[in-house]
C-alpha cells in the first residue's frame, strides 16, 4: 500500500468576537490507499472541523493557522480556490450528516448528479445521465431510471443518503470523507449504508475517512482510528489495538460509558465525570486533564506529546512517559480499586 494522504500538525482556529476558538490543535495522520480511517470524538472535539480543513472548506472567521495536508504528494493548504474546486468532488468528495441540507431541493436528483459528473469529466450529457442511473443502481436505489427524475423530498432519509453517496463517488474519487453519514438514520438503515460504504471501498479501492461519535460504527467499519478530544488527537491506533488495548484514559473512559451487558448482569456504567472543555479557554495542559482519573502535575501544565506504543498505535498521554508511574500497572491497580 502507498500513502494517499498525509496530514502534518494541522491547526485550525475560528476568530470570533469572543476570542480565538482553537478547534483543531495539531492533527497529524497518514492514510493509505484503500484504507478506512475513523475519526471519533464528541461534539466540540474538532472532528468535523478537521475534515473541513483537509479540503479547504473552512470559511471566515475560521482559518488554518499552520500545518500541511499532502494529498497524493500535493500540498492542499494554501492552494488557490480554483484548484481546490477541481480537486473537490473529483479526487476528494464528501458526504455530510444531513443529506437534505446537501441536496438542492429544487433540482431533480439526477440532474444534481449529472452536474457533478459534467463539471469534472469531459463527457456528453447523455452519457452523464446514463452514468447517473448506473450510480444510483450501484448504491441500491430500485428503478433508478425513474428515480433520477425525483426531487430530494420524494426520497426517504436513507435513499437521500444513498443518492449523496452516488454523487460522491461519481468521479471515482481517491478519497471519500463521510461526516457522521448515518447519525440521522435509523439503525436498520444505518446497517444498510455502512454495508454499502464497505462494499464500495472494497470494489473501488476508495480510501475513506469516517467521522463519527459511535464506537460501534468504528468497530464495524474502520481499519484504523483517531480519537480526538478538545481539538487534539488523544490516540491513534489500528481498530483492533484500540478496542483490545486502549492506551489513553479518555478512550478507556469512552468505552466504559457504553453498556456492554451480557444476559443476567447489569454492570453499572462508568461515566466520565465533568463536561467537555470550553474551546475558548481550553485547559493549558492536556485537554482531558480536568476529567481524567489519573491526572498528574505535568498534565495540567503541558499537553503530552504522542508516545509511540507500537508501530501503529500511539497515545498523547503523560502516563506513557518514563517518569510516570508504570502505565499498565497504574491503570490496572486503580481499576481494581474502583471495582
Amino acid at each position: 500500500m502507498s500513502i494517499l494522504l498525509e496530514v502534518i500538525n494541522l491547526h485550525t482556529s475560528f476568530f470570533t468576537h469572543q476570542g480565538e476558538v482553537k478547534a483543531v490543535r495539531g492533527l497529524s495522520f497518514v492514510l493509505e490507499h484503500g484504507e478506512i480511517l475513523g475519526i471519533v470524538g464528541e461534539s466540540g472535539s474538532g472532528k468535523s472541523v478537521s475534515s473541513m480543513s483537509l479540503i479547504g472548506l473552512v470559511d471566515e472567521p475560521g482559518k488554518i493557522i499552520q500545518g500541511s495536508v499532502l494529498f497524493d504528494g500535493k500540498e492542499l493548504v494554501g492552494l488557490p480556490k480554483k484548484e481546490l474546486e477541481n480537486i473537490r468532488g473529483k479526487e476528494i468528495s464528501m458526504i455530510f450528516q444531513d443529506p437534505m441540507t446537501s441536496l438542492n431541493p429544487v433540482f431533480r436528483i439526477g440532474s444534481q448528479i449529472v452536474e457533478v459528473i459534467m463539471r469534472h469529466t469531459q463527457i456528453t450529457r447523455v452519457d452523464a445521465e446514463k452514468k447517473a442511473v448506473d450510480l444510483l443502481e450501484l448504491v441500491g436505489i430500485p428503478e433508478a431510471k425513474d428515480r433520477i427524475k425525483s426531487y430530494p423530498h420524494q426520497f426517504s432519509g436513507g435513499m437521500r443518503q444513498r443518492a449523496m453517496i452516488a454523487m460522491a463517488i461519481s468521479c471515482d474519487p481517491k478519497l471519500l470523507i463521510a461526516d457522521e453519514p448515518t447519525t440521522a438514520l435509523d439503525v436498520t438503515i444505518q446497517a444498510q449504508i455502512l454495508e454499502l460504504m464497505r462494499d464500495l471501498n472494497k470494489k473501488l479501492n476508495t480510501s475513506v475517512i469516517l467521522i463519527t461519535h459511535d464506537l460501534g460504527v468504528v468497530a464495524e467499519t474502520c481499519d484504523k482510528v483517531i480519537v480526538m478530544y478538545g481539538g487534539m488527537v488523544m490516540e491513534n491506533a489500528s481498530v483492533l489495538e484500540l478496542f483490545d488495548n486502549p492506551q489513553h484514559p479518555y478512550t478507556r473512559g469512552l468505552m466504559k460509558s457504553v453498556p456492554k451487558d451480557v444476559s443476567g448482569t447489569r454492570t453499572r456504567l462508568e461515566p466520565i465525570a465533568g463536561t467537555p472543555p470550553d474551546l475558548l479557554k481550553p485547559p493549558p495542559g492536556c485537554p482531558f486533564s480536568p476529567r481524567c482519573p489519573h491526572t498528574m502535575e505535568i498534565c495540567i501544565q503541558e499537553a503530552a506529546p504522542m508516545f509511540k506504543i507500537t508501530d501503529t498505535q500511539s497515545a498523547s498521554c503523560w502516563l506513557h512517559h518514563k517518569k510516570a508511574p508504570s502505565v499498565l500497572n497504574y491503570i490496572k491497580t486503580t481499576e481494581e480499586v474502583d471495582s
Binding site: V187, A191, Q192, V217, A219, E220, S257, S263, L269
Partner: protein, 331 residues
Amino acid sequence: MSEQRIPLLEVRNLKKHFISGSKLTGRKVLAAVDGIDFVIYKGETFGLVGESGCGKTTAGRTICRLYNPTAGEIIFDGEDVAKLDERKLKSFRKRVQMIFQDPYASLNTRMTVTDIISEGLEANRMLSGEKEKTRIYELLDLVGLKREHASRYPHEFSGGQRQRIGIARTLAVEPELIICDEPISALDVSIQAQIVNMLEDLQTEFGLTYLFIAHDLSMVRHISDRIGVMYLGKMMEVADSDELYIHPYHPYTQSLLSSIPVPDPRENAKNKRIVLEGEIMSPINPKPGCRFAPRCRYAKDVCRSETPVLREISKDHTIACHLAEEINSGI
C-alpha cells in the same frame, strides 16, 4: 423484579390517529399509534423502542394526555386517564411527568433555573416562600447541580446540565411515573452514561416507574426491565429485556437487534447481520395485514391479509406474528 407485580399503568388498544388534508385534497388518516397494549408494573422500567415514525413518542405523549387518544383505555392506578376531564387531569399530571429529548428546546430560555423548577410546585400549590427555596436546593443537589446555578438561565449550561435541570423540574412534583422520551439521545456518549446512572439512582431512591422511549437499543437493554418493540403504530413484541435480546422471536426484532453496531471489532466479524431490505412504509392509510410484511423475508399471504394480534409465545413474552413458531422452530 419482585414476585408480586402491581400494574401501575395499563394501556389497552390505544389508538392515536391524526387527520390531515382537506376536503379538497382528500382526508388522510395517519395512524401513528394503532391499537397497542402493554402493562407497566410499579417500580420497573419499561423500554419502548422502534425506528423513527413507529409511534413511540406519540404513544408516550398520549399516555400523559398531551394528545387526546382516538380510542382505547389508559388505566393509571385503576382509573381510565383517557376519560379524565381537565380538572382531574391536573392531579393526574402531577403523578405522571415527562422528560424530553431536546434539552435546548424543552427549557424556557427566559426563565431562571429556579423559575423552571418551581413552576410545577406553584401550579400545584405545593410549596412557597422559604420552603420552596429549600426544596429547589434539595432538587439541584439531587441532580448533581450546584446551588449557585439556581439563579442562572438555561443558555449558561451544557446539554447534559440542561437535561439535569429538566429532570429536577420533573422530580419537583414528586411523580410516580416518568415518561422519558429519548432523554439521552441528544447528549454526548460520556454524558449519556452520567444521566443514565442518575436516572437509575433516582429510581432506587424514590421507587419511580419509568417509561423509557429510545432508539439506542444497547442503552435501552441496559436500563429496562421489560421492553416493547413498536413498528408503524403496532406493538410487535414485548418481553423481559434479557429474554428479548437473547430470544427475539419477531423477525423485525431480530433484524433490529442485529443492526446494532457492537463496539467490539472481533464480535462484529462473527456477528451475522440481517440487513433489512427497503424502508419503513408511510403510516398514512395503512393497508390491512402485518405492518412489517412488505419488508419481512418470511412473509406469506396470511401476513398480507390478516393483522396479527399480540399473543403469548412463552411466559411473559408476547409477539404479534403469524409465523412465529414456524420461523423460530430451528432455534
